[in-house]
């Protein structure tokens, strides 16, 4: 567990660079994290990220791709367009949440 600094924020990350303390996140930091992986945030991106944050607050787990597709109103196809290649991982990274646990 190390401390990272980005856009004037200090926060805890794991060895893969995922934030480990969700409360250290805000949207400004989210935009900076997105830039780190080559994404420029649009309203469509924020709709997804806000869903993930709200869902995590409620369930304590990061939503899987299928859950985001089913519950956020943004279809899976669109998630692949917004967060190319590895959408589940990228969405969690930008939202400052752990990688989804669904993969078991």
């Amino acid at each position: 567990m190390t401390i990272a600094t980005l856009a004037g924020h200090e926060f805890h990350v794991n060895e893969e660079g995922f934030m480990t303390v969700p409360a250290e996140w805000d949207e400004e930091l989210g935009a900076a994290l997105a830039a780190q992986i080559g994404l420029e945030m649009t309203d469509a991106h924020w709709e997804v990220i806000r869903f993930l944050r709200a869902d995590f607050a409620e369930t304590g787990e990061t939503a899987t791709l299928r859950r985001v597709g089913a519950r956020s109103g943004v279809p899976v196809k669109q998630l692949f367009a917004l967060f190319p290649q590895k959408p589940a991982k990228k969405m969690a990274y930008v939202a400052g949440l752990p990688k989804p646990h669904g993969c078991v």
Binding site: E15, E16, E61, R66, R67, K77, L79, G102, V104
Partner: protein
């Protein structure tokens, strides 16, 4: 007067209703019937039919190792005296009135409800899967009919691209698609066809398996067997005309013979009852298996949303913990048992060998021996003949020891003795 007394007596009797007489449900009624006094507790278990399949055997059907008759027995053979087995399709659970309604109109009351209706493959959830190629060149092997149909297709298959595919996680017995691949590769070699067949493993995961250490080991086994891996592939549809899988990010994998694992989902009545998540699994506390929404509803086995493998071994280990917790809970005592997500699975690797893996919520699969530290006889994460024999012997154990709820000398919690972390996870979790 007499009627009053009877009412009083029945008012004192508590009702446990178990939905599903599969692996978890059958073990639960056997264990709880012994623990709960007959004059205080009625126990009823509901299932839609009276056929209990030995699901681990499906894997061997396509290769002629078992035939269909060896894999089923009547459910009622495993339901003990003092438990009523009721056959019927469940319509919905009403948690306001603590009742379960069946499709035929019957209504069942409960004081405590255990949902153990498992998970099922749902080919209807992927566009094109049930198209004209279904059971012609597109097969599943997670059902008795599917595995039987695949056996006949394999007998006629002598060249081309054989694609093994997983739709999405979680799936029941997550190692089975890999085992199928290993067995198919060995079978093709035995038939002298291996040079004429291209083998491809298509997965939504970044590697061969869900757990990084095992993924690395199993990925190497795929490499050695010259099986190509297409990873991070989330299927959007199956194009029947061109015979290919199409992903959401517009990649295509052509096939001559496709063996797919359809999306797995919990029972539809769970969704109709408002008790499920997006895949119809019941959200529960992962240590006690008590519903997060209702204090008298548990979900055990594949039907719950706990973050570990959907597998008979998990059902077995979790039932051990559940039974003690249930007895405490109904007496108003706090539940002290805490399930750790313990799973262990034999992995057939072909040529009459198998590996064994052992893991839980927090610990990656370990190398070492099982169940006795240092002695084994089973080797963890190693291909051995003893593991293969262990897997075949398990069918007897399942019918004769596990389902009747007899004690098995395997601890429910995972033990670290005689085991070694297979790798430094800090270097292997990266993709």
């Amino acid at each position: 007067m007499q009627d009053d007394r009877r009412n009083e007596a029945s008012a004192m009797t508590r009702r446990l209703l178990v939905l599903g007489a599969g692996t978890a449900g059958t073990m639960i009624v056997n264990k709880l019937r012994r623990k709960l006094p007959g004059d205080e507790w009625d126990i009823t278990v509901v299932d839609r039919d009276d056929v209990h399949p030995y699901q681990p055997g499906y894997l061997f059907l396509p290769f002629g190792i078992y035939d269909e008759n060896q894999l089923t027995k009547p459910r009622h053979d495993f339901v003990p005296d003092g438990v009523e087995l009721l056959l019927g399709e469940i319509d919905r659970v009403d948690t306001e009135t603590d009742t379960v309604r069946l499709v035929d109109g019957r209504t069942l009351d409960y004081d405590y409800l255990v949902i153990a209706t498992g998970t099922s493959p749902r080919p209807d959830q992927t566009p094109g899967m049930l198209g004209p190629e279904w059971r012609r060149s597109v097969f599943d092997f997670y059902s008795l009919e599917g595995a039987g149909a695949l056996a006949r297709a394999l007998a006629d298959f002598d060249h081309g691209r054989l694609v093994v595919h997983v739709t999405d996680m979680p799936i029941k017995c997550p190692v089975a698609p890999l085992e199928f691949t290993f067995l198919a590769e060995a079978w093709l070699r035995e038939q002298g066809l291996r040079d004429r067949v291209e083998l491809v493993f298509v997965t939504p995961l970044p590697g061969a398996f869900t757990k990084p250490v095992a993924s690395e080991h199993l990925g190497n086994l795929l490499d050695e067997r010259k099986v190509a891996v297409e990873s991070d592939f989330l299927v959007e549809s199956i194009d029947n005309e061109r015979k290919c899988l199409v992903s959401y990010d517009e990649r295509e994998v052509p096939f001559d013979l496709l063996v797919t694992v359809p999306l797995n989902m919990g029972a539809d009545f769970v969704e109709r009852s408002g008790l499920g998540d997006e895949l119809n699994y019941v959200p529960v506390d992962k240590h006690t298996l008590l519903s997060r929404a209702h204090d008298n509803v548990f979900a055990v086995g594949d039907a719950s949303d706990i973050p570990t493998s959907k597998a008979g071994s998990v059902a077995h280990f979790s039932v051990e913990i559940f039974v003690d917790n249930f007895l405490a809970h109904v007496e108003g005592r706090p539940m002290t048992g805490s399930f750790d997500g313990h799973a262990n699975c034999f992995i057939e690797s072909g040529d009459k060998k198998a590996l064994l893996i052992d893991f839980n919520y927090d610990t990656e699969p370990l190398t070492g021996t099982y169940p006795v530290p240092y002695l084994g006889p089973l080797g963890l994460l190693k291909e051995t003949r003893a593991n293969h024999l262990g897997k075949l012997a398990f069918r007897w154990v399942y019918w004769n020891v596990l389902l009747p709820g007899r004690p098995i000398p395997l601890p429910a919690h995972m033990s670290m003795a005689g085991k070694h972390p297979a790798g430094d996870t800090s270097t292997t979790v990266k993709e």
